[in-house]
Assembly symmetry: C2
Homo-oligomer: 338 residues x 2
């Protein structure tokens, strides 16, 4: 049963575990520094489907099926699936998961969605509402570009602060505590934070204040400092947002050192892969967390990790209407059993 | 702490109560049969804002503020807000609620979203993760028409099976059990159900099979029949979907009698208000449940009610790509304390 700690943090005393996880990704992601960690990569952006949207839905199907299989379970053993994506009306999730027969709860937190789905999945296991829950999100460069920006054929120039939407999907299965895999120790759900950034090609800057707020709330609630953790990993602030987060935190008297990293920075080689400020998209942090992070934790490289999923809660319509970009960040503390 | 009952149902033994609720709506909704139940109605579709999207966001702000006020609380007393809407990237929720300072969990279940938000809000109160949670959703005829169908200026003909997106928002505050207001006794989260309906102007037909499946799952899990309830209320199947639900259930040996109704049928006078098959939109069931239903329950007219929020999980893109319409339905059992 969850236990409240401070104003914003929940501890999960039953220590629900990541009993299975999987990540699938595209060609560019396979060629990046994280390529060897992904379970499955696709050479073709359509995965043989008729559209990029259908390809993205297929990635969710593949990721969740692999994760369930790696957990040694069948669909029937999963009580709830929490899923979301960036496409309008979250169609990657509804179409990708409609064949599973698992009770479905659609989530929307933009690029913070993976942190949100794992948080709720872990909470439902911790409180006994479920024996097993699944969490999954995805993004696809081509479906995102044409929905949020321009037709790919247009060949629009990207600004230096722009991030590259990752073609990827990650899924995690939460279950009762196990001793050989990471567990969710705590979670802090974020508040919407809007400091007035209006540049939709600089989402790192729009999300950084939210990441700062949620991290400060968690550190305050738990009376800890960044040095107490082996790794602090933000979702996808990219290089611009990550630098801004450090700067914002310094003003608050908190410093992030070499134990800080960002999924948007990790997923591509910024020099060689022409991605400007780094990766983004629901699938970016999902794939990194569900492959690299959990594997490194199982190997003992990290034992106590904070993951902050970050999201920009705007739409093309809101930006066209002159609105600023509300940001959000949800924090999860993952630990390896000692 | 929630208790599983059968395969799909959760009982909430702490009986979390609806400690406050409010509904706001537009002019057409005020002129309908439910008009007198709404807390606040707006004569102008823009609410004085610059766009319909901003107006819809404002409706969420108004509904949730009223609900918090009626619960006798302040924002600081609410640990989580679950919110969603139909607009791309759920901007009514993110922009309408960004000023609240309450940890935010965006939900997407199309028109089933109100059932989903109340379910999760009640669950988090029941398991002790929160003292109070808020749930809110909205829809707006004008913002929905231009996003999902045609510019209003085009004056497109509507088909007889089409439903009218309600301009409305409803919010409920969940808290510890109280003796004078309805509580959430049980919940059944639905599975995605897709029988191949492709007509986006007949969403009642697309959602009816999901409503049937979730209702059968609940009745099976609880060993009850429709006659055990004072009212069975579907979200917004409208007249076409509601008739289809009855027909589908009859084939399964279950009959819905005069204790069955639908929010999409209740909200407008179908004869006088030219709404064809009835109302729809996240705000339709949200406004009916958070005003009429809870008020009638407090007055003793209904003591044991099943509410089935129903959603069509498609997008214009998926329909244009020839996809069918996946449906979903989540069930809540509301009871008055005896």
């Amino acid at each position: 049963m969850p236990k409240r700690q401070g104003k914003y943090t929940l501890l999960l005393p039953s220590k629900p575990s990541i009993i299975g996880s999987a990540a699938v990704a595209g060609k560019k992601e396979k060629e990046g520094p994280m390529g060897t960690y992904f379970d499955l990569c696709f050479q073709d952006t359509t995965l043989g489907e008729e559209s990029w949207e259908k390809a993205e839905a297929r990635m969710q199907t593949e990721a969740v099926n692999l994760a369930i299989q790696k957990a040694g379970l069948t669909n029937a053993a999963i009580q709830y699936i929490f899923a979301g994506d960036l496409l309008n009306q979250c169609i990657s999730s509804s179409f990708g998961l409609r064949g599973l027969g698992i009770p479905f709860l659609g989530q929307y937190g933009a690029c913070s969605t993976m942190a949100q789905t794992i948080s709720l999945a872990a909470l439902l296991v911790d409180c006994g509402a479920a024996n097993h829950c699944a969490a999954v999100t995805s993004s696809h460069f081509c479906s995102a570009e044409r929905q949020f920006r321009f037709p790919l054929e247009y060949g629009g120039q990207r600004t230096p602060t722009a991030q590259w939407t990752a073609t990827a999907s990650g899924s995690a299965i939460l279950g009762a505590h196990q001793t050989d895999t990471p567990f969710v120790a705590a979670m802090t759900i974020g508040k919407i934070t809007d400091l007035g950034i209006k540049d939709a090609a600089n989402m790192g800057a729009a999300m950084a204040p939210a990441a700062m707020q949620t991290l400060l709330d968690f550190l305050n609630d738990t009376h800890t400092t960044p040095d107490d953790y082996d790794l602090i990993l933000t979702g996808d602030l990219g290089s611009v947002g990550a630098a801004l987060l450090k700067e914002l935190l310094t003003k608050e008297g908190v410093s992030l050192s070499s134990n800080y990293n960002d999924c948007g920075i990790l997923i591509y080689d910024a020099q060689k892969q022409d991605v400007h400020a780094g990766g983004s998209g629901c699938g970016c942090s999902a794939a990194i967390v569900c492959s690299y992070l959990f594997q490194k934790m199982r190997e003992g490289a990290f034992r106590n990790v904070l993951f902050l999923g970050t999201g920009a809660l705007m739409s093309p319509t809101s930006s066209q209407q002159g609105e600023s970009i509300p940001g959000i960040a949800h924090l999860l503390q993952f630990r390896m059993p000692s």
